[in-house]
């Protein structure tokens, strides 16, 4: 007898029924490469591009959220559906709840502000900094965006340099350009 799929499925069902799955994980294919999707019962806690090492990402979540991490694709179905529609140009605003556990206070303020930049438009690092009334300025905003644990859904790609330069991106500039082009229609 091997540990077959039926046995794994039954284990996951029982773990889920007993509320023991603190963190659900799955992957999905997308136009910007394979995405690692991670959620808690509170909401989406982490999305990673394939540029990041899967074990490192999961290790970070195990340490800062919970090590009770299981592959539970169905728990991420709502997010996957929204992402599919977004990548197809059919969704402008995400509705899935977000779990901010992996984000510090300042970064959370930056990212919440970023989430208010409308689909298809951009803001500069300086504008976001000014909006937050922060003395730490554009560089601190850039750092907070660079550590965005939930790219795409929290649209840090909509923040660019003053004067039209594209700025940086955690997932690499080609992805940022692709997302901005998608939203430009």
């Amino acid at each position: 007898m091997t540990v077959d799929q039926a046995l794994r499925t039954r284990f996951l069902e029982r773990a889920d029924a007993e509320k023991l799955v603190d963190v659900a994980v799955t992957t999905m294919d997308s136009p910007v490469g394979t995405l690692l999707l991670i959620a808690t019962p509170k909401g989406i806690v982490r999305i990673a591009f394939e540029t990041e090492n899967r074990d490192d990402v999961l290790g970070e979540v195990a340490e800062h959220v919970s090590p009770r991490i299981l592959e539970a694709p169905r728990r991420l179905d709502p997010l996957r559906r929204e992402l599919d529609r977004y990548f197809a140009g059919k969704l402008r605003d995400f509705d899935v709840p977000i779990d901010w556990t992996l984000t510090g206070d300042f970064a959370r303020r930056v990212l919440r502000r970023t989430a208010r930049i409308p689909y298809g438009s951009v803001a500069s690092y300086g504008e976001v900094a000014m909006d937050l009334g922060t003395p730490r300025g554009a560089r601190a905003v850039g750092n907070a965006l660079g550590s965005n644990p939930i790219p795409v859904v929290v649209p840090c790609h909509r923040v660019v340099r003053t004067g039209g330069a594209i700025g940086g991106y955690g997932g690499g500039l080609p992805r940022k350009r692709w997302l901005l082009a998608l939203e430009a229609g």
């Binding site: 007898m1 091997t2 540990v3 046995l7 794994r8 039954r10 284990f11 029982r14 773990a15 007993e18 023991l20 603190d22 963190v23 994980v25 999961l58 290790g59 979540v61 195990a62 340490e63 919970s66 090590p67 009770r68 991490i69 299981l70 592959e71």
Partner: protein, 175 residues
């Protein structure tokens, strides 16, 4: 290095206190790496008909307790400790029924854990399925050939043959 003013036992204490606990990997990793060995052990210990329930109970208990474990340096040993407890539970439950059963586990103590030779287990796992089942039932489960034959729905001769072939492969060592 301990500061110069710390001497004797204090140095030992300092050394121990600075050893960082091994971080816990995602439970999924633990499951993927050890589930097969735990299931094989349980099939040997309680038989294939009860192994799955024991397996689910073992893994759920482990998942429940996992965040409190603190140190991930001997996860396999920890899982097998839980599995042994489930085997004892299963045998207690079964004791009410008049069915003769094998001793659940010859070396069921924490101290016996290092005796689990990981290399050998890996080799056992790589045996063809019939030989693997037969070898595990014979040596992890301490079952007789009639019992093995019954568990595998085959003849005693065929069970004997599978154990023999499996052992021959194991003696030859890893390929």
């Amino acid at each position: 290095m301990a500061p110069a003013h710390i001497r004797g036992d204090a140095v030992v204490w300092y050394a121990v206190s600075t050893v960082k606990a091994t971080a816990l990997p995602p439970f999924q990793t633990l499951f993927d790496e050890h589930a097969q060995a735990v299931l094989a052990f349980l099939i040997g210990a309680v038989g294939s008909s009860e192994a799955e329930d024991c397996f689910q109970d073992t893994m759920l208990s482990a998942l429940r307790a996992y965040p409190r474990l603190g140190d991930g340096s001997n996860l396999r040993g920890w899982l097998f400790t839980i599995a042994r407890r489930k085997v004892v539970d299963a045998h207690r439950a079964r004791a009410r029924r008049p069915v003769p059963v094998a001793d659940p586990d010859p070396g069921a103590t924490l101290d016996a854990l290092p005796a689990i030779d990981d290399g050998l287990w890996d080799e056992v796992r790589s045996l063809p399925v019939k030989q693997r089942k037969a070898v595990v039932l014979r040596f992890a489960g301490d079952r007789s050939y009639p019992e093995i034959a019954a568990a595998m729905s085959t003849t005693q001769d065929s069970a004997r043959q599978s154990v023999h072939e499996g052992l021959k492969k194991l003696r030859r060592g890893p390929r």
